[in-house]
């Protein structure tokens, strides 16, 4: 019961930081969430991009873990929370209804770059980095991924993606279920959330998982305690988490204390910092710093298997033209930098990145933004990605949209999960995704 919700109440997913970014902040403190977070955590996070210590500094301490992790394949789940507008990312400029559905938001047909696999679509200029990677055959595109009878609630739809089934009552994440079957009882790092809170897709019932915002600052200080007494105190910290109990909340609290104590030991070699290879530059923002840390952690031999990162603020009900481009630009440049980082370290064959959002947005704009839609865009990125589009663009004509005037799905997210489990993680998807065999598994990985 590592991450059991201690209550019988399980909301449909965690939801979306910065769900309604609203107007640019005019008054008060003028702090956006992003600048707030960099204020709070900047001290450690900004170390990520800096050249501090070479990997050698921590290599020694984690030799044992490295021996196990040397050829472990790693899946990174990147969640664009809020429901990213797929019709901006891959603008359907070749479809006649596009301009009338998006009178103010439509991209001109000469902007961006053509999408080679479907000439009716064009990459938005803000995602030029993804276009570059796609040109190298390292991006598999899902132009309209979703599920039948789509739910337009952030929380419900996101929950379906997180639990890997269309079931509002599912409690464990699909990656958590993978770890429950194939993970270890004593390695929290096998399922790592890089962020402030656990990503529900990693919620496991049996095994510990880790959440850490700053992997290089995971120390445990206490006023007026030092030396040998401090060492004993940290032992006792772990001991507090060990005893068994029948009470759900107490068991949950103890399991988390124990996982924290284990993670402290696992991250100890990382406390002195790490570096990014020369020539690789991440955007100076939280998401990029987290990917930079991740690349260093993988090279450092930390025993990672599945990693989840959320980057939010895509719920563009208003002011979409102003806010969406810069956000997409930062995220896609970060993803490109991560790929280049892995290539520089020689790790590119071990890592696959899955990018998803809980839904796309409605083709018909609402004036200055877009409301919740159905099928959306997804990507699988990596040197081992097939680079072959999965499903086609469904079209924008009345008859092509669903009865709520939203985009129809031409691939199912559960088929994506099935393919990732079978082709990348090499396990039987049937024991993790309910009715896995009923979903077509696209070819996502080159052998």
């Amino acid at each position: 019961m590592a991450n059991c919700g201690c209550t019988e109440y399980s909301r449909a997913g965690r939801g979306l930081p910065g769900i309604e970014p609203g107007m640019p902040l005019p008054a008060g403190t003028g702090l956006t969430r992003r600048s707030f977070i960099s204020r709070v955590s900047g001290l450690a996070l900004s170390v990520y991009g800096a050249a501090s210590l070479g990997p050698k500094a921590f290599e020694a301490g984690i030799a044992a873990a490295a021996a196990q992790a040397a050829d472990q394949r790693i899946l990174v789940s990147v969640f664009l929370s809020g429901g990213v507008d797929s019709l901006t990312l891959l603008a359907p400029t070749g479809h006649s209804r596009y301009a009338s559905l998006r009178p103010t938001l439509a991209m001109a047909a000469d902007q961006g770059t053509p999408f080679a696999e479907d000439p009716s679509l064009r990459w938005h200029p803000s995602v030029a980095s993804l276009a570059t990677l796609h040109g190298e055959g390292k991006v598999t595109v899902f132009p309209a991924v979703g599920y039948d009878d789509p739910n337009q609630s952030h929380f419900t739809s996101r929950h379906y993606w997180e639990v890997g089934e269309v079931n509002p009552f599912g409690r464990w994440g699909w990656l958590g279920r993978y770890l429950d079957r194939h993970g270890a009882a004593d390695n929290p790092l096998q399922g790592l959330t890089l962020g402030w809170e656990l990503q529900p897709s990693l919620a496991a019932q049996q095994v510990p998982v880790a959440t850490v915002s700053r992997p290089d600052q995971y120390d445990f200080w206490s006023p007026g305690v030092w030396g040998a007494v401090h060492d004993r105190m940290l032992d006792a910290f772990g001991d507090l988490g060990e005893p068994t109990t029948s009470d759900g909340a107490l068991r949950y609290a103890r399991a988390q204390v124990e996982a924290t104590a284990t993670l402290r030991q696992q991250l100890q070699p990382f406390q002195s910092g790490y570096s990014t290879p020369p020539g690789v530059t991440y955007p100076n923002a939280e998401f990029g710093r987290r990917l930079a840390a991740l690349a260093a952690m993988i090279e450092g031999g930390l025993p990672l298997q599945v990693v989840a990162i959320e980057t939010g603020g895509y719920d563009t009900h208003s002011n979409q033209a102003q806010t969406l481009g810069p956000d997409l630009d930062e995220v896609s440049r970060s993803l490109l930098a991560f790929q280049r980082d892995l290539e520089a370290r020689g790790l590119e064959d071990r890592v696959l990145v899955h990018v998803w959002s809980e839904f796309g947005r409605r083709p018909q704009e609402n004036g200055s933004g877009t409301d919740h839609g159905a099928a959306g865009v997804g990507f699988v990125i990596g040197s081992r990605a097939s680079g072959q589009m999965v499903g086609s663009f469904p079209g924008l004509q009345d008859a092509q949209l669903d009865q709520a005037d939203n985009l129809r799905a031409t691939s199912d997210f559960r088929g994506t999960y099935r393919a990732l489990l079978e082709q990348w993680l090499g396990v039987d998807a049937a024991e993790i995704i309910p009715n896995a065999s009923s979903f077509t598994a696209p070819t996502l990985v080159t052998p």
Partner: protein, 541 residues
């Protein structure tokens, strides 16, 4: 040579010298970053710079004595209500009422679930009243809320600026939790903040957030119908869920959807359709406000010309509905009461009510005209609260209770970022569904809670003479007993008591020099206090 006083002083000097290094090392203060100068700090020869920075901290620390915050007066315990109620006073409840003993332990839990834990003496006071009068003391306080002790300040003793300064809104609300004499008022305000979760990340104006907070406090146990009505016209909410962008020409569904899904009816229960979302959005059109560089958003108002006056069909009923009807229809929906009872219950008791209890509470709620007080009273009297499973305390509840136990005022801005690290930055819920009470703890927030306890204990640790003169003969049992008494003797499980006892023995095991016999026992006491309050027992109630 024979002067024992001079002798002792010389010994102390010698010991201090020996301890200089280790005492400095652990004093690593986490500092808030200040933008890009941090980058430059680490970019250039970061290793040396960092070592230097550490030395600087050490020197400063040695010169500056530890600031010892003064003990605050204990707020008065909730008073029996109505005043002079006889012991046989009974609140009414349509569901089962706890009939077992109501002693200090039960009162402790009641204070955690319906407030912020006991201040010294409060659990004893409530136990003395008996269950019914204790619950009424919380739900029916007499007079206006008062706050005892020192007003909150920043590190330099300046008063807070909750409308303007970053993080001071959080400190302001936290302070009310710590110093109030009507804890359930603040706890219900926190519950409504989670229920109608609005974040300043999207609003960007602390004065609007504080205005909404006042609204929640005003309606704390009043009419939920009135609360939903007022929330729909609340400036922070209007900005947060784009009601101001919802016009007859371009309906914006954001508020309409969350009003039904998260505030009144719940998703996936068959209570409403996607068509209802769109129609309700039309009914809610018309809000607008002004904006100026000086005032930010202001002058919120309903503008008839922006409102869609047409006929809407919501929940199968048709009419030219406006925003007030939209709010009222959601509360009068046949599936609202069950949603309300389940959700309200979940803030106090971690297992859902039985079908029979739910139905009885629904009737109580609807028959009372959507009053919250009778439902909360029935929940606080319920056997499941007093003898059922534990709940994880929300981080700010845990912290406010700890500061109450320590009688410590809000005297640092650090609580803002420390609470964010523990998973609950007030006025910044993660999204419109609020904080997830089923997943408060993970390896990041557990470390955050460790830091909360450490910072709360800062200034109260034994050091200097208190270490030099510590009882060299203190046994492990005595040490644990002393730490328990420091915290007002909170209840501990046998397992946690045994871990603390084992640590107390291990901390002074092995051959120790004579000065270490005293000093290590002092350090052990510091560590025991930290471990005890951090323990899973105290994270839950």
């Amino acid at each position: 040579m024979d002067d024992p006083v001079a002798d002792a002083a010389a010994r102390r000097r010698k010991r201090r010298k020996r301890k200089t290094k280790p005492r400095c090392q652990p004093r690593r203060r986490r500092r808030r970053a200040r933008g890009s100068d941090v980058d430059s700090l680490y970019a250039v020869d970061s290793k040396r710079r960092r070592r230097k920075a550490k030395r600087r901290v050490c020197r400063r620390r040695r010169r500056k004595p530890i600031r010892r915050p003064p003990l605050q007066p204990v707020p008065p315990a909730p008073a029996p209500s109505p005043p002079g109620a006889p012991p046989e006073f009974r609140l009414s409840s349509p569901v089962a009422v706890w009939s077992g003993p109501f002693g200090v332990r039960e009162a402790e839990r009641l204070l955690w679930r319906a407030g912020f834990g006991p201040s010294p003496g409060h659990a004893q006071a409530l136990a003395g009243m008996g269950l019914h009068r204790a619950v009424a003391a919380l739900t029916r306080p007499q007079g206006t809320e008062t706050f005892s002790g020192a007003a909150p300040t920043d590190e330099d003793g300046n008063p807070l600026a909750p409308e303007d300064a970053w993080g001071h809104d959080h400190l302001w609300f936290l302070d009310r939790m710590v110093r109030t004499d009507q804890p359930l008022v603040e706890r219900m305000t926190l519950i409504w903040h989670d229920w109608f979760a609005t974040s300043n990340d999207g609003v960007g104006q602390q004065n609007l957030m504080l205005g909404q907070n006042a609204l929640f406090r005003l309606h704390w146990l009043g009419s939920f119908d009135r609360l939903v009505h007022d929330v729909t016209a609340d400036p922070a909410m209007i900005v947060w869920l784009n009601l101001d962008q919802n016009t007859r020409w371009n309906p914006n569904e954001n508020y309409a959807r969350e009003l039904m899904e998260l505030f009144t009816l719940g998703a996936d229960r068959g209570a409403y359709t996607e068509a209802d979302v769109r129609e309700l959005a039309r009914a809610l059109t018309g809000w607008n406000e002004d904006w100026s560089a000086e005032l930010g958003y202001h002058n919120f108002r309903f503008v008839p010309s922006r409102h869609d006056p047409g006929v809407k069909t919501v929940f199968g009923k048709s009419g030219a509905f406006g925003w007030e009807q939209a709010a009222a229809m959601c509360v009068r929906h046949p599936l609202h009461a069950s949603f309300f009872v389940d959700k309200l219950w979940s803030y106090f008791i971690p297992v859902p009510p039985s079908a029979g209890d739910r139905a009885a509470l629904e009737r109580l709620y609807v028959d009372s005209g959507w009053q919250v007080r009778p439902v909360v009273e029935a929940i606080l009297l319920h056997p499941q609260l007093h003898s059922g499973p534990r709940m994880v305390k929300p981080p700010v509840v845990f912290l406010a209770g700890m500061l109450r136990a320590l009688r410590r005022a809000i005297d640092t801005e650090a609580w803002t970022w420390l609470c964010e690290g523990a998973g609950q930055y007030l006025f910044h819920p993660p999204d419109v569904s609020g904080w997830d009470d089923s997943r408060w703890l993970d390896t990041s927030t557990v470390r955050g809670r460790w830091e909360l306890v450490g910072y709360a204990l800062r200034g109260r640790e034994l050091e200097g003479d208190a270490l030099d003169d510590y009882d060299a003969a203190e046994s492990p049992e005595q040490a644990v007993a002393r730490a328990r008494s420091f915290w007002g003797d909170p209840q501990l499980t046998a397992e946690t008591a045994s871990v603390l006892r084992a640590f107390a023995a291990a901390a002074v095991a092995g051959p120790l020099a004579s000065w270490q016999q005293r000093t290590y026992r002092g350090l052990r006491q510091n560590a025991l206090r930290h471990l005890l309050y951090f323990s899973p027992d105290l994270q839950t109630s």
